[in-house]
Symmetry: C2
């Protein structure tokens, strides 16, 4: 791991970092149980296992004081009426925040606290979003022809709790209604 | 202070955040003892007190887990042969890093550790710089006609130690030589 300050470049059109340490690819099969329309999900999966999103990470020690950072790219598409999205997670250390800076595309950050507060914030190029400590967060690409690209920064000790969202989902969904994104309640929230 | 996730926009040409909590303005008089050519500094100050740089901050609790963030704008200019620059600082909690994302301009981040390691990294739009924990850092605008604008993120508990740099300076300077930026040793380093 690097022991001196380092740099990399983020350039359009794709914004893949000029150097990185990890490249994570999440396919449809990784999203079992997350989409509302489970029949559409199963039918899509029977046809193949498309790539939904990618994350490029710079490696740092996972301790407080360090800042983990990288690029998230959610590709466009729908599963049923629901836009492509990330798994979403709480931080394992709940009292840690995260910064997102949107570089490309149109989308939403869907967020909620363990106590049930919800927030859904639009993302577009040049917009900074501060996800407060305690808020679970999921990126949703609300375009059907362009990637949603964000640069993210979070504390080195934050960790990821994916399990809570895998079990209960998010309280809010972003779906296509008459070709436009709409934020709706998740009728399956909290179901196993 | 905000209790739900919040957003703001960074748009050219100036990249002042669409909302912010603090606006810091640093003038020449705040840089006493920092520039190599102290006669040039004194002569400039006798003529006025120009604005050298500005910082726009979003307020968050100064605790670990939060991320302090904002925009730094270093205006173009010279003091003697030395380019306009920020005061520069160590973090009070030395084991905390900082992320910079350059939005506009041309410049350098001048860095060093308490043990005497040095690094000077070019900044230009689209470039991300990770300042490792332990590294003091100063932004230098190496253009004479354009602002240097960076977006920064650092841990909420980091704090600022300006005093060490005020006393000893940085080991490296960025000066104009034949109209081009050059990195040179600071002959006054460590002098009171």
């Amino acid at each position: 791991m690097k022991t001196v300050p380092f740099t990399f470049e983020l350039a359009g059109p794709d914004f893949v970092p000029s150097t990185y340490d990890n490249h994570i690819q999440r396919r449809l099969s990784a999203m079992k149980g997350q989409y509302l329309d489970q029949a559409a999900y199963a039918a899509m999966l029977a046809e193949g296992d498309p790539l939904l999103y990618e994350v490029y990470e710079l490696q740092r020690p996972t301790v407080a004081g360090e800042l983990l950072h990288g690029i998230s790219i959610v590709h466009p598409g729908l599963v049923g009426d629901e836009y492509n999205m990330t798994k979403g997670h709480f931080h394992e250390v709940l009292e840690t925040g995260e910064i997102y800076y949107c570089l490309k595309g149109r989308g939403f950050m869907v967020m909620e606290t363990p106590e049930g507060e919800t927030a859904v914030e639009p993302l577009f190029p040049g917009r900074v979003l501060y996800v407060l400590p305690r808020w679970a967060h999921r990126s949703v690409n609300a375009s059907l022809d362009e990637d949603l690209v964000t640069f993210f920064v979070y504390p080195g000790n934050a960790g990821h709790d994916y399990g809570t969202i895998e079990k209960q989902g998010f309280r809010k969904l972003v779906v296509a209604q008459d070709g436009e994104p709409a934020i709706v309640d998740n009728p399956r929230w909290g179901q196993p």
